[in-house]
Symmetry: C2
Subunit: 739 residues, 2 copies
C-alpha cells in the first residue's frame, strides 16, 4: 500500500448510497494533499462473490476487499474508514443470493439443511459471511468511542426528543435467574501456550472431540452453558407474567452477532410462544424445512408449498395462539411484522435504547406504544437495562441538554470473544458432559449438559487485555475523566480479567487519575448518577458491553449512535476509523426507492474522515492533510450549527444536500485558513463557486425528490446507476471537477 492511501469501504444499503455522493467530494479535496482514497468492497454481495470467486468467470470475480483490509491491519501505516455494513441473518443472506443469481452470478443457494458433502462445504463457506463477519477481521485493536465535542454541544443546544418516563411504568427487563450462561460461567487463564480440546462425553463415556483450540500464553478461556429446559421454562413464565399484567412481550437478542447461540434462543422463543402450533404441526414443519430459528417468517415462507386448506389451518393455529398469549411487540405494526418474525429484526443493543428513549414503550399491533416486558434471556448483560429502567422510573427520562457523556474503551482486539462466537458454540446433541481438556489431560472446565443445551467457549488474549488497560488509562489521562473498569465480581471471566487489570495498572503512574473497578450494576448506576449531574465517566468494558453501551448512552445523549467517533487504534500501530454504529438502515433505502430521498446522516463519516486525515498527517508528516482535517472538523461544526444535516422528509435537503454544505463550508474554511497558503489559494475559487451557486445546487439536488429511484439492485446495486441517483447536481459536480 501507499502510505498516502486511505481505504474507504463500500458497504451496503444507506451508507453505500451516501458513499456515492460523499467519496467524490473527499477525493477532490484529498488529492490537493496528495492523499488517495481507495474504495474497497466489503459489502454482503461483494463478500458472497469473492467467497465463490472460484465458480465465477474471470470478469465477474471481484477483489476480496475484506481479505485485503484484514491483511492491511498488520501494517503500521494502515488507515481506513469503515462504514456500517449488513450483519447478515439467513433471510438476508438468502435474499442477497437470490439477487445475485438473478443478475447472472453463478453463486450457490444456501443449503439450510445440508446433506451432501458439497452442500456442507457450501454452508461452511456461507457461515463465514453470516452475521458480524466483518468486524472480527478488521478490528485488530481495541475500541475508543466517544461523542465528539461538537456533536455533544450540538445535542445540548438542539436536544432530540425524549419520551417522558412515568413513575408507574410497568416496563421492565426480564432475564433468567439461573440456568443461563451467567450462572454457569467458568474461566481459566492458561500459563503456557498449549492446544486444549473441547470434548463431549456422552452418558456411555464415549468421548467426541468437538474442537482443538490453540491457546497462547496468558490467554483467558471461558466456558458456559445455557440450559434449554431452563430457557423454555423462563420463556413460558415470562409470557404468562406479561399476559397476567396485560403488558406487551418482546424479545431482544443479537442473532446477527451471536450467530450460533442467539438464533437457537430465538427459535426456542418461537416454539414456546407458538407452542400449540409446533405441537400440532412440528413434524410437518420438519418435513418442509421450517426452521424456528429463522423466525415465524420461516413458517410463513415454507408453508407456501402446502395446499391452501392446510396453510389456512396453520395460520388459524398461529392466530389462536394470540388469544392466550400476551400481545407481542411489533417491528412493523402496519405490515403486521412481530418481534418473532425475523431474528435479525430486533437487535438488543439498538432496540433496548430505542425503547428506553421512547418512555419504555414499544409498538403494539394497533400501532400504539405500550409498556413492555423486554425479554433478554441471558442475564449477564440484561441486568444493566433493568438498572437503567429503574433509574428512569425514579428520575425521569435523561435530559440531553444537561446530561454528561459516557465514552467507551472496549476490549475488542484479537477477536476478544466475549460473545462466545461461532466456532466454539455448540447445540448439545445428547445428555452428557461438555469439557475443556488441557494438553496434559487435566480437565480444565466442565459442565453437565442436556440435549438441546447451548454450550460455548470464548477466548481473550493477554496482549489485547494489556493494550486495553493501556488505552483505558490513556483515555482517562487525556480527557481528565474518571474511568470505570466494568468487571463483575460474580462473573468468572471478569475475575480472570480483574487479576490482569490490577497487574497491568501497576505499569502506569495513576497519580491524579480516578480509576475504579466495579460490577456492572454498580458501574452503570455510578455512571448514570454522574451523568444526570452533568459529569462524564469513561466505561472501560468487555466486547459485549462495548457494543451495548456505545448504542445505549449515545442514543440517550445524542439521539443516535451514528454520531459517535469510533476509533480502533490497531495493536500494530495502524488506525481504523469506524462510522455510524447505527447499522446500515434498510428503512432509509426503502424511502429512497419510493421517493428518491435519502435521510442517512453522514456525520459519522465526516468525523471519522477528519481523524483519518489527521492521523495520516501526523504519521506521514503531511501538513496539508492536517489542515484538511482541521478544516473538515470546522466545516462539520458549522454544518451542525446551521442545521444542514438531512431532514427526514421530501422537500428539505437530504443526505446529498448535506454533503454539498459540507463541501461548501470545508472549502470556505480552507480558503480562510492561513496555515497553508497554497491550499487557501487552491480552494478559494471553489469556495466562491459553491457559495455563489448555493441556491442553484440545492435546487438541483432537491428537484429529484418525490419520485421513485432505481438502483438496479439492492444488495448488489449497479454503481453507475447509484452514482446517477446520488449525484444529480451538474453544477456541483462540475465545481468539484474544476479543482
Amino acid at each position: 500500500m501507499s502510505k498516502d492511501t486511505i481505504y474507504y469501504t463500500l458497504t451496503d444499503e444507506a451508507p453505500a448510497l451516501a458513499t456515492a455522493s460523499l467519496l467524490p467530494i473527499y477525493r477532490a479535496f484529498a488529492k490537493e494533499a496528495g492523499i488517495k482514497l481507495e474504495l474497497t468492497d466489503i459489502s454482503l454481495a461483494g463478500r458472497i462473490l469473492s467467497t465463490f470467486a472460484d465458480r465465477l468467470p474471470e470478469d465477474q470475480r471481484p477483489q476480496d476487499g475484506l481479505a485485503f483490509l484484514g491483511e492491511l491491519t498488520a501494517d503500521p501505516n494502515a488507515n481506513f474508514i469503515k462504514l456500517p455494513n449488513i450483519s447478515a441473518s439467513i433471510p438476508q443472506l438468502n435474499a442477497a443470493i437470490k439477487e445475485l443469481q438473478a443478475q447472472g452470478f453463478d453463486v450457490p443457494s444456501y443449503p439450510e439443511a445440508p446433506k451432501t458433502d458439497e452442500e456442507k462445504e457450501i454452508q461452511a463457506r456461507y457461515s463465514k459471511i453470516l452475521g458480524s463477519a466483518v468486524n472480527p477481521v478488521l478490528r485488530q485493536g481495541n475500541s475508543d468511542r466517544r461523542a465528539p465535542a461538537a456533536v455533544k454541544a450540538y445535542a445540548r443546544k438542539h436536544p432530540h426528543s425524549m419520551g417522558e418516563w412515568k413513575k408507574t411504568s410497568q416496563t421492565h427487563a426480564d432475564y433468567m435467574r439461573g440456568g443461563d450462561f451467567f450462572s454457569s460461567e467458568q474461566s481459566i487463564t492458561t500459563d503456557k501456550a498449549q492446544t486444549v480440546r473441547i470434548e463431549f462425553v456422552d452418558q456411555a463415556g464415549n468421548v467426541e472431540l468437538k474442537k482443538s483450540l490453540p491457546l497462547v500464553e496468558g490467554e483467558v478461556l471461558d466456558s458456559m452453558r445455557m440450559s434449554a429446559k431452563a430457557l423454555r421454562d423462563f420463556f413460558e413464565q415470562s409470557l404468562q407474567e406479561a399476559k397476567e399484567a396485560g403488558i406487551m412481550w418482546s424479545l431482544h437478542v443479537k442473532a446477527t452477532m451471536m450467530k450460533v447461540s442467539h438464533p437457537i434462543v430465538f427459535g426456542h422463543a418461537v416454539t414456546v410462544f407458538y407452542k400449540e402450533v409446533w405441537d400440532k404441526f412440528g413434524d410437518l414443519f420438519a418435513e418442509i424445512g421450517v426452521n424456528p430459528n429463522n423466525g415465524l417468517g420461516s413458517v410463513l415462507d415454507k408453508i407456501k408449498v402446502l395446499p391452501q386448506s392446510q396453510q389456512d389451518e396453520i395460520l388459524q393455529a398461529i392466530h389462536d395462539c394470540y388469544e392466550h398469549r400476551p400481545e407481542i411487540a411489533m417491528v412493523d405494526s402496519v405490515r403486521g411484522i412481530t418481534n418473532l418474525h425475523v431474528p435479525s429484526d430486533v437487535i438488543v443493543d439498538a432496540s433496548m435504547p430505542a425503547m428506553i428513549r421512547n418512555s419504555g414503550k414499544m409498538w403494539g399491533r394497533d400501532g400504539k406504544t405500550k409498556d413492555t416486558k423486554a425479554v433478554m434471556p441471558e442475564s449477564t448483560y440484561a441486568r444493566i437495562y433493568q438498572e437503567v429502567i429503574n433509574f428512569c422510573k425514579t428520575n425521569g427520562a435523561f435530559d440531553p441538554t444537561t446530561m454528561g457523556t459516557v465514552p467507551n474503551v472496549g476490549l475488542m482486539a484479537q477477536k476478544a470473544e466475549e460473545y462466545g462466537s461461532h466456532d466454539k458454540t455448540f447445540e448439545v446433541q445428547a445428555d452428557g458432559v461438555m469439557r475443556v481438556v488441557a494438553e496434559n489431560g487435566d480437565v480444565l472446565m466442565q459442565h453437565d449438559v442436556e440435549k438441546g443445551d447451548i454450550w460455548r467457549a470464548c477466548q481473550t488474549k493477554d496482549a489485547a487485555i494489556k493494550d486495553w488497560v493501556k488505552l483505558g488509562v490513556t483515555r482517562a489521562r487525556n480527557s481528565n475523566t474518571p474511568a470505570v473498569f466494568w468487571l463483575d465480581a460474580e462473573r468468572a471471566h471478569d475475575n480472570e480479567l480483574r487479576k490482569k487489570v490490577e497487574l497491568y495498572l501497576q505499569d502506569y503512574d495513576l497519580t491524579g487519575l480516578d480509576i475504579h473497578i466495579m460490577s456492572y450494576n454498580e458501574a452503570i448506576r455510578f455512571s448514570m448518577e454522574r451523568m444526570i449531574r452533568g459529569q462524564d465517566t469513561i466505561s472501560v468494558t468487555g466486547n459485549v458491553l462495548r457494543d451495548y453501551l456505545t448504542d445505549l448512552f449515545p442514543i440517550m445523549e445524542l439521539g443516535t449512535s451514528a454520531k459517535m467517533l469510533s476509533i480502533v487504534p490497531m495493536l500494530n500501530g495502524g488506525g481504523m476509523y469506524e462510522t455510524g454504529a447505527g447499522g446500515s438502515a434498510p428503512k432509509h433505502v426503502q424511502q429512497l426507492l419510493e421517493e428518491n430521498y435519502l435521510r442517512w446522516d453522514s456525520l459519522g463519516e465526516f468525523l471519522a474522515t477528519a481523524v483519518s486525515f489527521e492521523e495520516l498527517g501526523i504519521k506521514q508528516g503531511n501538513d496539508k492533510a492536517k489542515v484538511l482535517a482541521k478544516c473538515l472538523d470546522k466545516a462539520t461544526e458549522k454544518l451542525l450549527d446551521n442545521n444542514k444535516s438531512p431532514s427526514r422528509k421530501v422537500g428539505d435537503i437530504d443526505n446529498r444536500g448535506s454533503h454539498f454544505y459540507l463541501a461548501m463550508y470545508w472549502a470556505q474554511e480552507l480558503a480562510a485558513q492561513t496555515e497553508d497558503a497554497e491550499l487557501a489559494a487552491k480552494f478559494a475559487p471553489l469556495a466562491e463557486t459553491l457559495t455563489a451557486n448555493e441556491a442553484k445546487i440545492v435546487e438541483e439536488l432537491n428537484s429529484v425528490q418525490g419520485k421513485p429511484a432505481d438502483l438496479e439492485g439492492y444488495y448488489h446495486m449497479d454503481l453507475a446507476a447509484v452514482e446517477k441517483v446520488m449525484r444529480p447536481s451538474a453544477t456541483f459536480n462540475a465545481a468539484l471537477e474544476s479543482l
Copy 2:
C-alpha cells in the same frame, strides 16, 4: 437508686397490659438474685397527670416517672427496661385528657388555638407531652439494635409470610425534587461554645428573634426550609399522576415524631386533596376550629356543631372530591378511615415496610390491596424506599429463610436532632429571611422564605458523634461484620458529620475491619445486595435512618421490629434496654376489650430483660443475675422453638399463655443448670409444679377468652382491674408466690 434495681416502665396500651402479667414473673425470679424490679410510670396519662400535678390534690399526684428516669440516665449504674409507649398526636392527647377528666382529675383541656396567657401556658405544657416526648429524655446514648441470633434462626426456620412482588408493580415512592428540606439544607460546625440566634427578618428589614440557641464546642447545627408552595404543587402533581395511572395515593409522614413540621405537611396534603372543600368552606372551618393538620377527622368532628343541612353539604363536597381524585389508601377500609383522617395513623417507618412486605400494595376502599403511589414529600430519606421498591421489582420479595441481617448503630445520644424537632421548627408567618446569627454577628446560614414555609434547625453534639463512631467500630469488631456509615455526599449535615467520622475513625485500629462511608442509595443497595446473598451489614446511621431502618429491615427479616434487641449504652455508662419498636398497638387493646385476647408478643421484653440482667450481673458482680440471664435466653429460644408465642385468635394461647411458658422453661433451665446450685435447688420445685400443671394453667388462662374484658379506662386504666384480667390463672399465680 439501689445498684440492684432494674426500672421497668409502665407505658400504654398492649405493652402496659402485658406488663401486668409479665412483671410479677420477673419479680418472682429476680428476687432470688437479689434484684428488685421497680415499675415507673411513663404512660401518656401518667405524664399528663404529673405535668399538671400542681392542679391536683395530694392523693391524685403521681410520681413523675419520666423525670425520674431522665435523671437516672446520668447514673453509671442505671439499668432500665423501656417498653413502647404512645407518641401522642393531638387527637390522642384530647382523648386521654377527656378520659382523665371523666375519672375526676382536674386536668385542663388542650387549647388548640390558645388566646389567653393561661391557655398559652397550658398549651406549652402539653406540647412537652405530645409526640415522641419520652425518647429524647431517656435516650442518653447512641443506639445498638440487632436481631438476636435465636430470633433470626427462628425466622429462617419459620418464615413469616411475604407478599410476592410483581416485576410489573406500579407502586413507587414519590418525593419532592426540589423545594424540600433536602434541597435547602445548610450545616455548620461551631468551633467554640457560643449562643447563636435564630432570627426572622421581614421584608421591611425588621428582625425578630425566634430563639437563642446555646451551642457547645464542635456542635453541628443545620438549617433547612421546605417551601409550602413547592409542597402543595408536589401534592397536586402526585395526585394527578396517581389518578392518571389509576393507582392509589397514600401519604406517609411521621407526625408523632416530627411533631411540628409533619402535621403541617399533613395539613397541606388534606387541603390540597380536598381543595374544593376548603375553597368553599375554608372560612367556616376557621370559625368552627377545624384544623387540617389534625386530618379530615378534625372536619368530621368539628362540623358536628353545624346544622344538619350544612353538615350534609360539607360531606357532599368531601364526597365530590373523591370523584376526580385518585383512590386514597385506607387505614381501615371497614370503617372507612382513609390515610388522611388522622395524622398519626400512617407512620412512615412502619407503614412503608408493611407496604413493601405486602407486595407493594396498600388497602383500598373496597378492602382489596392495590398498587400505590407512596408519597413522602421530604426526599432526604424517601429515596431509600424507592431503592427498596426498585430492588423488589427486580429481584422479587426478600426471602426470610436466606436473607442476611442489617443491624443498626444509630446516632441518638444527647438528643441528636436530625428530625429538626419541635423547638427549632417554625411555620413562617411572612415572606422574608430566616437566618442563624453567630455571637459575633456573622450570619452563619440563611434562607429566603415565603409565608407558610417550614423552617427548622437541628443540633448534633460532638460527644454524641464521637461515641457513635466508637459504637460503630465496636459493633463491627465484635460481630465481625462490615459496617457502612450512611452519609450522603449531597447532604450538608452529612458532610459535616463525615469530617468528624473520618477524624474519629483514626482513633481506632481498623485492621481486619471492613468499614465504608456511602451515600444513602449506595448504602441501602449495597446492604440489600449483600442481604439477598445471606450476608450481614451493619448500618451506622443518623437518628432518622436509625428509626426507619430498624423497622424496615426487621420487618423483612423477622416479620416485625418488635423482636429486635435494642440497647442504648448510655454515654455515662448506664444502659437502657428498649423493647418492641413496633409501637404500643391500639388494635391489640381493641381485641382484648372485645374478646379478652391479647396477641401482644412480649418477645422483645424477654430479650431486653435478659440483657438487662446480664449487664447488672457484670457491673455488680452478681453471678446469680448472670445465670438468670443465661437461662432466660435459653427459655426464650425454647419458647420460639416450641412455638409458644401468642397466636392471633381466640382459642390459642395469647400473651398470658406465652408468659406462662416462658416462666416454665425459665424455671426448667434454672433447675437444670449447674453453675449455681442454690438457684437450681430453689427453682427445681417451681419447674416441677409448672411442668405438672401445664395443661391446667393453660386451660385457666385460655378459659377467659371470648368474652369482653373491662380495663376501667384506656389511657388511664385501673391497675387492679388490669391485673385481674391479665392474671386469671390461680394455679400459676400460686406457684409464683410459692417461690
